[in-house]
């Protein structure tokens, strides 16, 4: 527990000092949403049903930037190695980093919602439930994303490698998150949203437990 609190303290400091990066990623996500809407055209009848998919695509693309960046400070003077030698527990280091990345994605996803509403003329009947789905979907991205970012952070082509490894793995999470978001925004006459949310929770549980166990093998020599 002490190690987890220490890891969270470190991550909070890193996030605060790197807050300009979050704003840059938010602008990137908003730009992606804007470009997607340009690609479809100005017809709001066409835009509305695809808005949930584009919201998640924008969040997924943005996530590769935040995840890769989350190890930048750890790389500079081998700070991560310094913590491993203290010794800090692998689980605490992983959880601290994954929770920080998750929080960043939740903030990012929440901030993208009003932009999506404006650009895609989308309805927002249950905003709190939508934030809940974003939180669950982001958890499904940040858990494997943190592991893969740790794997690729020393590679020269990490910006390319990370999405190549991450995207195939998070397809089920993406599908479940898009379905749940669509049902919340466009209506759920059959009451299916609950099933998709349960599926998301299931993926999250698998990813968080498995990636936490594998982290030690990834970061040790």
């Amino acid at each position: 527990m002490r190690h987890l609190m220490a890891a969270l303290y470190k991550e909070a400091l890193l996030q605060w000092r790197g807050r300009a990066q979050l704003i840059a990623v938010l602008v990137f996500g908003a730009t992606a949403l804007l470009l997607f809407s340009f690609a479809v055209g100005p017809n709001s009848e066409l835009l509305r049903p695809i808005a949930p998919g584009f919201l998640w695509l924008a969040l997924l693309l943005s996530s590769t930037l935040t995840l890769a960046e989350s190890y930048q400070a750890e790389m500079e003077h081998k700070a991560l190695e310094g913590q491993l030698l203290l010794p800090a527990s692998h689980g605490a280091l992983y959880l601290g980093k994954a929770l920080a990345n998750w929080l960043q994605l939740v903030v990012l996803g929440t901030a993208l919602i009003p932009i999506m509403v404006v650009l895609y003329d989308a309805a927002l009947p249950r905003p709190l439930a939508l934030i809940g789905v974003i939180a669950l979907g982001s958890a499904g991205l940040s858990a494997p994303g943190t592991l893969y970012a740790a794997m690729t952070h020393q590679a020269r082509s990490r910006q390319t490698l990370l999405p190549l490894l991450l995207f195939p793995l998070v397809v089920p999470v993406l599908i479940a998150a898009v379905k749940a978001t669509s049902l919340l925004m466009l209506g759920d006459p059959m009451g299916q949203v609950r099933a998709w949310v349960v599926l998301l929770i299931g993926f999250d549980a698998i990813h968080w437990s498995l990636c936490g166990l594998l982290f030690g093998r990834v970061v040790e020599d």
């Binding site: 400070a73 310094g82 030698l85």
Partner: protein
Amino acid sequence: MNQETKIAAVEAAGLCRRYGRRWALIDVSFRIDPGRAVMIAGRNGSGKSTLLRLLATAIRPDRGTARLLGRDVRRQLETVRRHVALLGHYSYLYETFSALENLQVVGRFIGRDTRREALMPLLAEVTLAERADDPVSTFSAGMRKRLSLARTLLQDASVVLLDEPYGELDPPGFRLVDRLFGTLRARGVTILMATHLIDRGAALCDDGIVLEQGRLVWSGPARDLPGAGVLDPATLPEGTA
């Protein structure tokens, strides 16, 4: 207690480590008793840093075994790490954190008192008290080294590994390292120090070992090491290889 039955602070047997196809350490064996200070000498690329990183568990041996206070560096990682501190070529510092915050992060992980008033004496010891709240990104190389020294001391380890501790330091910094070395020795800490400053190291340490192309080519009393950086094995005095 008999010297043979006493648990060694550091014990290496047949240590080998390679990077790709190049062997950085070949069949290195030695034993260091608790409380001794040992200097590691050798040319650039002779394996000094690899040996220290291996003993600190930053890297693993490809062959052979190493034990710190009786614990295997390969199998008992966490226990070994609780007893060893490494001042290496990497500072392990966060650029965007202040000097104090860097120490606070370490302190939180190892369960030390991380209040400002508890850590300021340590920063004062390495003459960084006035820069405690400045980000490390504004520090010179020498100041970073001083902060790394403070980070190493904070760990309060039984075995301290110093890899070129004088590097990047000014003359007062040299004296600071000498003073801290004395403090560690007074505490009974076992010290391994890799340095090119033969005379200085020989004056501070009890024993010395010399590495040459990854092999241990000499070991003996530190005072018998040749001065002024002459490390040709042929010129070394009588010792044990």
